[in-house]
């Protein structure tokens, strides 16, 4: 009996099955690897597989050199800065990577340059997609002049400072929180911002997140600019606020709990003066409400 299958048929079936196996293998690998590693459950465990198990290294270093500023640059992972009563800076970090080799391929640089302490992961080129996440916990004295934290994918948190230290906090994906700051620049593309500010200049911008903030004091000659695209803006300010107000929402309501001299008022727009209007205060959002109220 003659076989019905030709050589081309058999080759086609073999290659088709190979392609199917490759698709299944790719699916298994990609579901177990980034960016799915945050998912949980038996299908998403990342402890083994072709891409290597996750390994981590944890270390604490104390920097005794006196500096005026702290600058942290991270790519992936949260950055927490906490005030303490010592003069030194403590850097605690946990770095992670898939496999021991990948973990050893990048290091954490802690370098005092001039009056600034710089902390950042340094990836050996070509880094490709091997940006292992690093979570930082830093303890700093409240005598610092400035704290600068730039992150790509991760939350930024500054807390327990005993003074109003100037801060520059920026992340692409993650929330920003600071419970006490002097002059502040906070920017997040995808995440909310929460702050407590007392200084001259305040700039807070989030593309897709709400902004909640306290203005405890605002010096003359300063400015306040708060902006969100798809989130609400809720500000509470000290009783002696003296500002020229520009509140504008494209598709939300605007309200102010301070007695003020109104120059223009609509549902989504409010302009006027609180006191003599010494400092420009503007808040904008596209889809969300804006509320300015006195601090309780």
């Amino acid at each position: 009996m003659k076989s019905k299958r030709s050589a081309a048929d058999i080759l086609g079936i073999v290659l088709g099955v190979a392609a199917l196996a490759l698709v299944i293998a790719a699916l298994v690998y990609l579901l177990g690897a980034r960016p799915f590693h945050r998912l949980r459950g038996p299908w998403f465990q990342t402890g083994s597989g072709w891409s290597g198990a996750w390994v981590s290294e944890e270390r604490t270093e104390e920097v005794s050199q006196r500096v005026q500023a702290l600058s942290v640059n991270n790519i992936s992972g949260p950055v927490r800065v906490e005030g303490w009563d010592r003069d030194t800076i403590e850097v605690h970090y946990v770095k992670k990577a898939r496999g021991q080799q990948a973990l050893e391929d990048f290091r954490i640089e802690i370098l005092a340059e001039g009056d600034t302490l710089k902390v950042q992961p340094v990836y050996a080129p070509p880094a490709g997609f091997r940006f292992g996440p690093v979570s930082f916990d830093l303890k700093v004295p409240s005598t610092l002049r400035e704290i600068r934290v730039h992150n790509v994918s991760g939350r930024i948190e500054v807390s327990s400072l005993a003074a109003d230290v100037q801060q520059d906090l920026e992340t692409v994906s993650g929330a920003i929180f600071t419970d006490r700051s002097g002059n502040l620049r906070a920017k997040s593309t995808s995440g909310g911002i929460e702050f407590s500010f007392a200084g001259n200049r305040l700039y807070a911008k989030s593309v897709s997140g709400a902004i909640n903030g306290k203005i405890r004091n605002l010096g003359r000659g300063g400015s306040v600019e708060v902006e969100s695209v798809s989130g609400s803006v809720n500000l509470s300010a000290f009783a002696g606020l003296d500002a020229e107000l520009h509140l504008r929402s494209t598709s939300g309501s605007v309200s102010c709990g301070f007695p003020m001299q109104i120059t223009e008022q609509r549902r989504s727009r409010l302009e006027g003066r609180i006191g003599t209007g010494a400092v420009p205060l503007s808040a904008k959002t596209v889809s969300g409400s804006i509320n300015l109220s006195p601090l309780e």
Partner: protein
């Protein structure tokens, strides 16, 4: 004669579909091999990014495979027609 022509046409269609698939799968496997080599030379043991195109394109290749070898130029359709005709015959 008409039946023979019809058979020839169908055979041509099936052969054409199978040849299309063979070309497709060979190009797919060659391109993926090149990407895998580039990936592993540039970042040895690193993230296997080439699996993304392998997955995306692979779904298309598997669909092509199923169409060429399982559908087989109307055999399913032929069976369905036959069943329908049988059913109609029963009703009569």
């Amino acid at each position: 004669m008409a039946v023979r022509d019809e058979k020839l046409e169908r055979a041509k269609k099936i052969a054409h579909r199978k040849m299309d698939f063979l070309r497709h799968v060979i190009i797919y496997l060659l391109v993926m091999a090149v990407l895998a080599i580039i990936n592993n030379i540039s970042t040895p043991g690193g993230y296997q990014w080439w699996l993304w195109p392998a997955l995306g394109w692979g779904i298309g290749v598997v669909a092509n495979f199923l169409s060429a070898f399982l559908y087989s130029g109307g055999s399913l359709e032929k069976r369905l027609i036959q069943k329908e005709m049988e059913r109609m015959g029963d009703e009569e």
